[in-house]
């Protein structure tokens, strides 16, 4: 399998050959930053198109089909529309916090985006507590949402932000605990380490029962984390118009919108990482021929493909289920998911201690 560290090292050596050390680092940071943002926005555009097409399929419609072949240019048109829209300044808002909020949301999203394992040797942020770092930065997002709701000085946004705060803080626990369960199995918090640990079989197979439980909980909690249906109460359009981002327009709204779609990708990406081997191809012990063929598929395709497939499940949720009520939502987390999760963690520890996994 092609190792992308060859490419990255070649670039590094090339830059280092005619630049001083500090400039090399700076240049690499800029390069990575540009590449990251480019990937971020392109993926967001893809996701918008993807969700619209998938949702149209579920609803017996065609979805976007006028702009460009199969409506492919629709999302670009939408993006340009959003970019050139006026940023409406409202009276009586806290202007500093109002402007700050979308940036916090998008920064949290980009930071967690940077942690994902894109392929063999394609890892931007890599240190020994990588997954911990990912959970930590992804929870900055809730701050942005709370600020947005508060600074808009609007009753709907305030209720939306309150709901969002309660929801995200609660479901953070389930996400964290189900990831923790898998960390037990992997024995490391380093993201490349977790991927390498799945070389002989993805955790969803090797960890069997506790891994499947953890996956289901993660999927539910992850859907709630991204504020998507059936957990989209913070922006329940039939109750709160658009929730915390009601008062935002133009690119400020665009940031929330992008972050929402990218969070969907991040949640799916982390699920792919923790349960389906990240960029690791499907390997079945003993089937050497099959494994070799799988190895020919490039690792980024494996990773993105898995993430997109998991996103399809989350999108399917949204277009099927009605929305929960805030008390039911919190009850689900605190009365059901959390105890199951704690029990599952103990189960996983037992499985690991007695070496009951494959």
């Amino acid at each position: 399998m092609f190792n992308f560290s060859i490419v990255t090292e070649w670039i590094h050596n090339l830059l280092a050959s005619f630049m001083p050390g500090w400039l090399t680092t700076t240049a690499e940071c800029v390069l990575i930053g540009v590449g990251l943002l480019l990937a971020y926005s392109l993926l967001a555009l893809f996701y918008i198109y993807y969700e619209r097409k998938l949702c149209a399929f579920i609803q017996c419609r065609l979805g976007p089909n006028r702009v460009g072949p199969m409506g492919l240019c629709q999302v670009f048109a939408d993006m340009f529309k959003m970019l050139i829209k006026e940023l409406i300044e409202l009276k009586h808002t806290d202007r500093f916090l109002f402007a700050l909020a979308p940036y916090l949301v998008i920064i949290a999203s980009v930071l967690s985006f940077a942690c994902l394992p894109w392929g063999r040797g394609l890892q931007i942020i890599n240190f020994n507590i990588g997954i911990f770092f990912l959970i930590a930065v992804s929870s900055i997002g809730v701050l942005g949402i709370l600020l947005a709701g508060w600074s808009s000085n609007n009753k709907y946004t305030l209720i939306g932000a309150m709901r969002s705060g309660a929801q995200m803080v609660s479901y953070e626990l389930s996400v964290g605990l189900s990831i923790m369960t898998m960390v037990c199995l992997a024995g490391t918090m380093s993201i490349p380490g977790i991927v390498e640990a799945q070389a002989d079989g993805w955790f969803i197979f090797t960890g069997h029962i506790p891994a499947i439980i953890a996956f289901i909980i993660y999927l539910i909690a992850g859907t709630a984390e991204t504020n998507r249906g059936p957990f989209d109460l913070p922006e329940a359009e039939s109750e709160l118009t658009a929730g915390y981002h009601t008062e935002y327009s133009g690119i400020h709204f665009g940031f929330f919108y992008l972050a929402e779609y990218l969070n969907l990708f991040i949640v799916s990406g982390v699920a792919a990482l923790m349960f389906f081997g990240g960029w690791m191809p499907l390997h079945i012990p003993g089937w050497e021929g099959f494994n070799d063929i799988m190895n020919y598929i490039p690792s980024p395709i494996w990773f993105i493909g898995k993430a997109i497939a998991i996103s399809a499940i989350i999108i399917w949720f949204k277009w099927t289920f009605p929305r929960l009520r805030i008390d039911q939502l919190l009850k689900l987390e605190w009365k059901y998911l959390l105890p199951i999760n704690l029990f599952n963690l103990v189960l996983m520890v037992l499985v690991v201690v007695y070496n009951l996994h494959f």
Binding site: F321, L324, R325
Partner: protein, 538 residues
């Protein structure tokens, strides 16, 4: 001893006008006592409507009451000659819906209802000059210019009380100063139109709701007074636009009754088929939008498929997809399209499958059950007191289907069930509509092969003049009881045309059943009541 003699025994000052519905005329000072007696002793527990009237020499009200046990109706007429400060005792303590009905009469006639806890205008803005349905109303546009500023808003309401023989006006507040009041509406996705709920909340809990109506008040009743009978018909499409056929049917029946003619059998059968098709389309749209309100957007597209098919059928026959204007006095505007029977049969074949699909996708869902069951429970007695008819009333165990209680047209010949549930919650209201689709399918099945040949419209004069008198006709709309009251002085225009619409009651009950629930429940409950705003405002 019949009821008239009994009442005469209690109230010697009462006089009676016999007719289709017995009318008791009573002086204003004895009125409240009579209303209480009728409710408590004679079982007239349902206030159908209050018709404000201006007879020229006197202002007054007609109260239409119904006994929910034997479905008999009675009306009370009371009046006052005081045009400066006309006052009648409120019956808000007997029927809770009277608060709203009396506000409407106050709005249009300026009659003050003593002891009504909320004597504000209902539809017109608070600075409106004059009372538009009075016969001496000054229509000069300079008195009520079109405002280019925001309307003045007020948090004050008034209660009129009799103290030492004089009327005293007390001012009260709708909300307290420390209430956190959120406007749900007038532009809000869940109100399904321009309706405004001023909602006092404590966190997520609703403390009180003040329904603010009148954003699309068009004064249909006032307009009708200056139009010929044929011209009044098209307004019926614009009240509850999903029950357009049913409302047309109601007004046509009332005018036909007054003229003493009957539509040909072919027209009657087609009218009933159209009514039931409207009901299916209306309930399908309800299911779709309701699910969308709850976040299950996909259901909307599934239900709209059936609705589209019905609208296609309507379009072929009526030439329109919304405001059909199909029934006319004496029958129908035009005959059915040659393919009508074939198209309807295709629809009937797919309807049950679709309903099964809706149930599979939505009704049994655990989240749906959590959101709907036990939410917004309306008790049987409250349903009657608020006059909640239609599928919503029948969900509270009140068998109030006009097609059964006061059968009209060819309904007595048809076999169908009245869907009644006793839970009274949002789920019961939802399921009732689901089941009514099946009942409507059954009704159409009985008729579609037996549409008789013949004329589709009776011969009626070009200018219709009704004889002097008054008539009251009830029909079942898609959302409940729809009533038409016509009073004629023998002219080609009605002297008074009052429309009794179910949605006014539905919107006024929201405050009662949402208190203590969450904001999200307001959407659940409001959606399950399924009010249509033009039907509230008229």
């Amino acid at each position: 001893m019949n009821i008239q003699e009994k009442i005469a025994g209690f109230f010697p000052e009462a006089s009676f006008e016999e007719g289709e519905i017995l009318r008791i005329c009573i002086p204003a000072e004895k009125f409240h006592e009579l209303a209480k007696t009728l409710r408590d002793e004679f079982g007239y527990d349902y206030l159908v409507t209050i018709v404000g009237m201006d007879w020229g020499e006197s202002l007054g009200c007609l109260y239409y009451l119904m006994n929910t046990a034997d479905h008999s109706q009675i009306s009370i007429k009371t009046s006052t000659t005081d045009r400066e400060q006309p006052a009648i005792d409120s019956v808000a303590d007997l029927w809770r819906i009277a608060v709203i009905f009396e506000r409407e009469v106050y709005d249009f006639y300026g009659i003050i209802f003593v002891n009504n806890p909320d004597m504000r205008r209902l539809f017109l803005n608070i600075d409106w000059v004059g009372y538009p349905l009075r016969k001496d109303y000054d229509e000069n546009p300079e008195l009520n210019p079109v405002s280019i500023e925001n309307e003045r808003q007020s948090d004050e309401t008034y209660v009129w009380k009799r103290e030492n023989g004089k009327l005293v006006k007390h001012t009260e507040r709708v909300f307290n100063d420390d209430d956190f009041v959120v406007n749900i509406g007038p532009q809000h996705p869940a109100t399904h139109g321009v309706l405004r709920f001023r909602t006092a909340i404590d966190g997520e809990i609703i403390k009180k709701i003040d329904v603010y109506m009148g954003y699309i008040h068009r004064g249909v009743e006032k307009l009708c007074e200056n139009l010929q009978y044929q011209q009044t018909l098209h307004f019926m499409d614009r009240l509850d636009y999903f029950s357009a056929h049913n409302y047309h049917h109601g007004l046509c029946l009332c005018i036909e009754k007054a003229m003493g003619i009957e539509a040909p059998r072919r027209a009657q059968v087609i009218r009933v088929i159209m009514d039931e098709l409207s009901r299916i389309a209306s309930h399908c749209l309800f299911i779709g939008t309701y699910c969308m309100d709850l976040g299950a957007t996909t259901m909307l597209f599934y239900t709209l498929r059936v609705r589209e098919q019905i609208l296609d059928i309507m379009e072929r026959t009526c030439g329109a997809r919304m405001t059909f204007n199909y029934s006319c006095i004496g029958g129908l505007m035009a005959d059915i399209h040659p393919d009508f029977v074939k198209d309807v049969k295709e629809l009937l074949a797919i309807c049950p499958k679709n309903v099964a699909e809706y149930n599979k996708l939505f009704t049994g869902n655990i989240i749906t059950k959590g959101r709907l069951e036990g939410v917004g429970v309306l008790s049987h007695d409250d349903a009657i007191s608020y006059g909640i008819t239609g599928p919503s009333g029948r969900a509270s165990g009140w068998a109030c289907d006009v097609r059964k209680t006061h059968p009209y047209s060819i309904y007595p010949e048809l076999k169908f069930e009245q869907v009644v549930r006793t839970e009274g919650d949002s789920m019961a209201r939802f399921k009732n509509r689901m089941d009514e689709i099946q009942q409507s399918v059954d009704i159409i099945n009985q008729l579609i092969d037996n549409i008789p040949e013949g004329d589709y419209c009776a011969k009626v004069p070009k200018v219709i003049k009704l004889p002097e008198g008054h008539w009251f006709q009830l029909v079942e709309g898609c959302r409940g009881l729809f009533g038409v009251y016509i009073e004629s002085k023998g002219a080609a225009q009605p002297y008074r045309l009052k429309l009794v619409t179910p949605c006014l009651n539905l919107a006024s009950v929201v405050d009662h059943i949402t208190r203590g629930d969450k904001i999200a429940d307001l959407i659940t409950i409001g959606g399950s009541l399924d009010y249509i705003v033009p039907d509230i405002d008229r």
